[in-house]
Amino acid sequence: MDAANTMAPLPPGSSAGLLESLAGFVKELRAAGIPVSLTENLDAMEALRHVPLEDRDAFKYALAATLVKSNAHWKAFETVFEVYFSLRGRQYRLTDDTGGEEEEQLIAQLLGSREGEGSSAEGLTPEQLAELLFRALMDGNDAMLRAVARAAVTRYAGMEPGRPVGGTYYLYRTLRQLDLDAVLDKMLAAARDQTRGDRTELEDRLAREEYEARLEALRREIEAEIRRRLVADRGAEAVAKSLRKPLPEDIDFMHASREELVALRRAIAPLTRKLAVRLARKRRHGRKGPLDFRSTVRHSLPYGGVPADPRFRYPRPSKPEIVVIADISGSVAAFARFTLQMVYAISSQFSRVRSFVFIDGIDEVTDYFRGTEDIGAAIHRINTEADVIWVDGHSDYGHAFEAFWDRWGRELNSKTTVLLLGDARNNYHAAQAWVLAEVAKKVRHIYWLNPEPRSYWDTGDSIVSQYATHCDGAHECRNLKQLERFVEQLG
């Protein structure tokens, strides 16, 4: 890239408007947490000189390839892109896929042009709309699906300009009217009729999945349509701000919505894999071990017997034994789940992992993880089978720790590292912090991981600092990023 290019990054023939919305776009990406450097920004402009602007896909991927360098950020990118560049399409010669005429023709055609030129998406009766929707879904016709989504939003969402409600509200209203669950059943029934019941269960299942995928596409289409209209109403910046969601690694464990929990579960697998590789490498490449005489002599041969290339043995530091003691009461259950999942995913880095869970009673759950590679199933067993309730099912750290000390305290030794997970909200029970003092004397390390923000510690019934004084460290672990950082220094 030469200097002239970087000085004049504007694609020839483009208006200053594109540059402006690109600047806003990049700003929004940064606000959403995606790191975009200055060079990357310049690269994006350079890239736009080469792609035909009327090709919307090429435009999108040009921006993606230059600005987004991690797959975890893709979703955030896509949302921001939709907001900034889909409505303004026509203005900037991007093909405008909301383009009405073609679709209206399609609809008119499908209705058998009964109403002549008067038929338009707005003029449909609910029955006609439902019928159209059903046919579009059955045929898997994308253009039609888009048209129907458009019509449905116009008809059911009841969008009013300037009304300060989020897109989810309109989405809910539209979906409620369409009643997609009933549509799915109808589709399945129709498919069954077509083959006259001559289908195996597998075929049934595959058909169902296919239809579900189509319905999902419809849902996305409706969402996109609502977003487009919101952008038209309020401007890209405001809409982008309302759509801003934390990246998976920044989602707060304690306040994750169901959707976010799914995103978390998806994000944790590659994260732990990376962590395991990194730890294994660290172990092997850490410090050098003692001189490996044999290997040194062998490698001296190319140098005529001069040991110019000394070889060392790999160090084999002893692996720690991990004991996890986790609070699994409602408020912190998600946090315990992810921490256990992460610890078990890298369990090869430890000589042994034992896990205990408690609410007000405590139970060992190590066996649930043994012999299964499916951590999700093990967690499920913990939630249904573990004996963790002693009196009333409200967290009682004091009693749980005391019971732990009585039953398993003898088995702790100087190779053990103890992890305590919980928010230390003890419901005003006795703290019994002496247990931790005793444990700390016996084990190598003891850490407290708290999913609450540090500023909430020791407010209300939280007594975390009473326990933390006996620990080697108390860490705030609100999201995957913090958890990963902690687990890494453990291995």
């Binding site: 890239m1 450097s37 060079t39 990357e40 690269d43 350079e46 890239a47 080469h50 792609v51 035909p52 090709d55 896909d57 090429a58 999108k60 991927y61 040009a62 993606a64 390839a65 230059t66 987004v68 360098k69 991690s70 797959n71 893709w74 195996t200 269960e201 597998l202 049934d204 299942r205 595959l206 169902r208 999945e209 296919e210 579900e212 995928a213 590659p270 894999r273 990376k274 590789v277 990194r278 490498r281 490449h285 190319p302 299964t372 590679e373 499916d374 999700g376």
Partner: protein, 300 residues
């Protein structure tokens, strides 16, 4: 296609069409990024799950442009002498010996030094070879996430300036800019510096239409109905929470197996019996078998 240095692509669509002729079915994203890489002269970092055609992409682009493919397979412990260049010290030693024998005391040391640190004594390794190539080349740096962070730095000079500095010879610059593909299975985070220099392309499992097409092109003789069934079952299996979801190459293997076994329509039983081709972990196989046998999809 192979006349004049790298045939310029007209548009992303042309790239897509071109790749199709060498039976690589690209989607808009892949075609768009390849097009840009060629226009901007920037390397492409291709990331994604194993077996989705990352390496194949580089090979196909090489085939399409009629360029020579130079491949650097990365592994832990890869160093300069394996990736860039190395002095052929054995040959150098022989040269010194020969000089001594021929002239008794020999010429001045400067002459010899000048001589033994010159081209004939240089062993070029893939990176240098790609830079020095006269003919069009495609450089494939495979599984770049396997090298250590320090070794990654080796690549930076080449990727941004297309040149290599050899202390004894000076700087070797590329005569033409090669297309560079780096692939990564993302077993670790690559450094910011490397990512910044590259265009980023994530190749995920293809959507169902594309995968069907891939099966049809790559498995000759398969019927459309069977291909359709295969990809739909694979999608169903992928939606389970597995240790290792089936990749495209495993889909192809499975389709080939079914073809060889002479199966025209897959039912739950055949699917279960041949699952071990699709999945590589016993726990995954058990899970999928159970799921397919039960066959009543859990409603959402």
């Amino acid at each position: 296609m192979s006349d004049a240095p790298p045939a310029r692509f007209e548009s992303p669509a042309a790239v897509r069409e071109g790749l199709r002729t060498v039976s690589y079915l690209a989607d808009e994203g892949i075609a768009g990024v390849v097009f840009l890489a060629e226009r901007l002269g920037k390397p492409v970092l291709v990331e994604g799950p194993a077996g989705t055609g990352k390496t194949q992409l580089a090979k196909s682009v090489a085939e399409l442009t009629g360029a020579r493919l130079i491949r650097l397979q990365c592994y832990e412990g890869l160093d300069e002498s394996k990736a860039l260049y190395e002095w052929n010290y054995k040959k150098q030693l022989l040269r010194i010996q020969a000089q001594r024998v021929a002239e008794g005391s020999g010429g001045s040391w400067e002459d010899i030094e000048e001589d033994i640190f010159s081209e004939p004594f240089l062993l070029t390794r893939p990176l240098l070879e790609a830079i020095r190539a006269e003919d069009p080349v495609v450089l494939l740096v495979d599984e770049v996430d396997r090298v250590e962070v320090e070794t990654e730095a080796l690549l930076l000079e080449i990727l941004s300036d297309y040149q290599v500095s050899i202390p004894e010879l000076g700087t070797v610059s590329a005569t033409q800019i090669p297309l560079v593909f780096l692939t990564s299975n993302s077993t670790r985070e690559l450094s910011e510096a490397l990512k910044r220099r590259c265009l980023f392309l994530h190749i995920d499992y293809p959507d169902i239409e594309r995968e069907r097409e891939i099966v049809l092109t790559r498995v000759p003789g398969i019927s459309e109905a069977l291909a359709d069934q295969v990809v739909r079952i694979v999608r169903s299996v992928r939606s389970l929470e597995l240790k290792k979801a089936p990749s495209v190459s495993e889909t192809l293997d499975w389709a080939r197996t079914l073809l060889i076994l002479g199966i025209e329509s897959v039912d739950a039983q055949t699917a279960t019996a041949t699952l071990h081709i699709l999945l590589k972990y016993q726990s995954d196989i058990d899970k999928a078998a159970k799921d397919l046998a039960g066959s009543v999809a859990p409603s959402r």
